[in-house]
Amino acid sequence: MTTRRLIIPLLASLPLVVGCADYQAEFVNDERVATLATTSPDAASNLKNSLDAHFGTPNALVAWGALPIDFGEIGGTVISANGNSLRVSLETEPPDGLSNVAVVVETETPQNRTAGSYNADTRTLTLLEQEAAPAIAPGTSLRLIGHKLQAGRRLYMQHCMHCHGVTGDGNGPTARYIRNHRFNPLPRDYRRGLFKFTSTKIGFYASRDDLRRTVTQGLAGTYMPSFLLLKTDELDAIVEFIRFLAMRGEVERRLLDHLQPLMPSDDGTPPSDLADLEKELAVDTFNQAFADAASLVAEKWVNAEDPDNRVIPTTPRPPDTGKSRIRGRSLFVDTKINCAKCHGEGGRGNGAVLKDRQKIPGTDDKYPTPGLRDDWHKMIQPRNLTSGIFRGGRRPLDVFRRVTAGIKATPMGGFETNLTESERWDIVNYVLSIPIDGAFIDEHGHQYHGGDRSHAHHDHDKPADKPADKPADKPKTTQPKSAKDKK
């Protein structure tokens, strides 16, 4: 009786103990890899193995030099060596957790080794056993590579994985709670290299600063929370890890495109000349394709850091006056620019295009239901500009960038070519004024909230808070008399 009383609680707590066991996370492959495996198992496993060889697994990441990632590198020299255990002097004291970090030992022919552990007190670096590794003499210099990526992985697993997923596919265990609303954006799937809120020009990827901004400030109004209190080095490490996941995902996608001819047709039949194709694509040209994919992806991420590819206005924001806002408003509803077709006359995100069925990108078909979609085929609502929520930031610079380069991977394209810089600034002044003074501007230059002009605010007849705005280019006295909407 007593034993039973004891054993039951013990059994009940067993799941707790098991749950805390070291979790063997895995990168999951794109679902097309499984499809590929039905016709060409060799090609599929070739792809998987190459990815593993160059990117590793979550618990044994690989720092592949072809990628423009700061993996975290520490130089040092060997003071004394005793087999695999080296007393070393490192240039910078490493953060904790050097296990599994790559070690390049600069012996005559450089050795690639892996660190087993590092003891900071005795400064002893223990390398993992490696067959036929030549002895390491004191004075040899060495480099430890990858501690930053590992720190990024640890932090990512702690803070981000449950939404964005181990692989960065946006499919973490809690992502499904976000899915329950049609317009909630899902956690970003990093694997296509697409990021919405960037400082870069049209067609360019996100810079490290952009990712940092997203992580520290969050994306207001979405489930992406702010991680403001992360320390700088933690933040850097996480950002590097996101870039790593994005690069891994995109290399995989590009290789799948390369292997596309091997895929079964819709009814599951393999291509007729499978054997030849297989030899050509999965054997002869595979390594070249892998290298090409990686260098292409690397180039994109490198370009995103280039200051020349950043949207930076050349003229300062013009004073936020009524006249500027009116110009902005007329562009907003202008038939050529037509922000209103998406955002609506009143800026409420209910423009006319929402009634149309949109074309599915890359095909001639249309989506079955009306409404805008993003590049992940998810329903997306043009922003309600009266809400005062700016996911990508509310600085004039941020909004200027949104108008110039658009919001990537969404239907909102950039207006860099259609609008001059000063026109874009006028739009910025107008857009920033909407949450405060309303979207409609009457014939006197007064802004008001659609429909209730009788309640136009007496205390907002000043254009903005800038002292320079006092010039009375807006009559202060008259209240709009008629109740006619501009619609």
Binding site: H162, T314, T321, P396
Partner: protein
């Protein structure tokens, strides 16, 4: 033998409990913030806590000593036979009235602190038309899973609560926005209006002894005066979803709050060309052809 064992057994536990309590301050098992609240009201709340702790300690030691004595005496008594008691009316009355008296005392004694903490200011607000010179008003919106903060334009002095209400109702020109980090004035009153963007949360700053639920659809006023400079953890104290633990924020008390807000505002006004903080170029329509 076994009688003595049980007698000692039941005596040892209260002794351990008291020893643990006695050493806990030295072990730092005490209130956050080096045992001392960073708000004057928080210090009074702590005082109340210590008062109650004192009362409870006396009662605890008293009952435990009596229990140990009775056990000890009983364990030695081999001759007398136990007798069956139907209770004592007098005793029942005594141990009802004494704790009731203690409770009543605590209830009356704490009224003032409670009134200052949650009632008096609020009541005044409806009768007296005009705020006390509150030096900071801010709107704090808890949402899954972060704290979104809005300050009025730096330098704003609200004259009436009506003005504050109007400000809270919608965004205004010059508002300063922040997330997860609330700046407050050192040694002056802070008045925040707590809102929720989605579900129920709770604004909890342990060092300040401030804890208030944020309710969807309501704007709840919370006031406190921080009298120690520094940074204090802000957490959510209402299980609000699976990212509840992520709602870490910070409250920082600074000497010159207005300057800090101006800095934030300057950053927020950055246009990519004019360095933040410099005055905007002289306004003229000619500048923008």
């Amino acid at each position: 033998m076994s009688r003595i064992f049980w007698c000692l057994f039941f005596t040892v536990w209260p002794i351990i409990a008291i020893v643990v309590c006695a050493i806990s301050p030295a072990m730092d098992w005490a209130f956050p913030g080096n045992r001392e609240a960073a708000t004057p009201l928080g210090q009074r709340i702590d005082d109340l806590f210590y008062l109650i702790l004192g009362i409870v300690t006396v009662a605890f030691i008293g009952t435990m000593v009596a229990l140990a004595y009775v056990l000890w005496k009983g364990s030695k008594n081999e001759d007398e036979k136990g007798w069956f008691s139907h209770g004592s009316h007098n005793l029942e009355v005594i141990w009802t009235i004494v704790p009731a008296g203690v409770l009543l005392f605590i209830a009356l004694y704490q009224i003032d602190v409670w009134a200052i903490y949650r009632v008096r200011e609020h009541e005044n607000r409806d009768t007296v038309n005009g705020p006390r010179p509150s030096h900071l008003v801010a709107e704090v919106t808890a949402r899954q899973f972060e704290w979104r903060i809005r300050y009025p334009k730096p330098g704003t002095k609200f004259k009436t609560y009506k003005e504050i209400k109007a400000w809270l109702a919608k965004p205004h020109a010059g508002d300063v926005y922040a997330v997860n980090k609330l700046f407050v004035h050192l040694n002056r009153e802070t008045l925040i209006y707590l809102k929720s963007g989605d579900v129920q949360h709770a604004f909890f700053v342990p060092d300040l002894r401030v804890k208030q639920d944020a309710m969807p659809g309501q704007s709840i006023d919370v006031w406190f005066t921080v009298n120690k400079s520094g940074k204090f953890n802000l957490t959510c104290a209402e299980l609000c979803g699976w990212g509840h633990y992520k709602m870490r924020g910070e409250v920082e008390a600074v000497e010159d709050l207005e300057a800090r807000l101006r800095e934030l505002k300057a950053l927020q006004d950055f246009d990519g060309v004019t360095p933040p903080g410099t005055a905007p170029a002289e306004a003229s329509e000619e500048a923008t052809p």
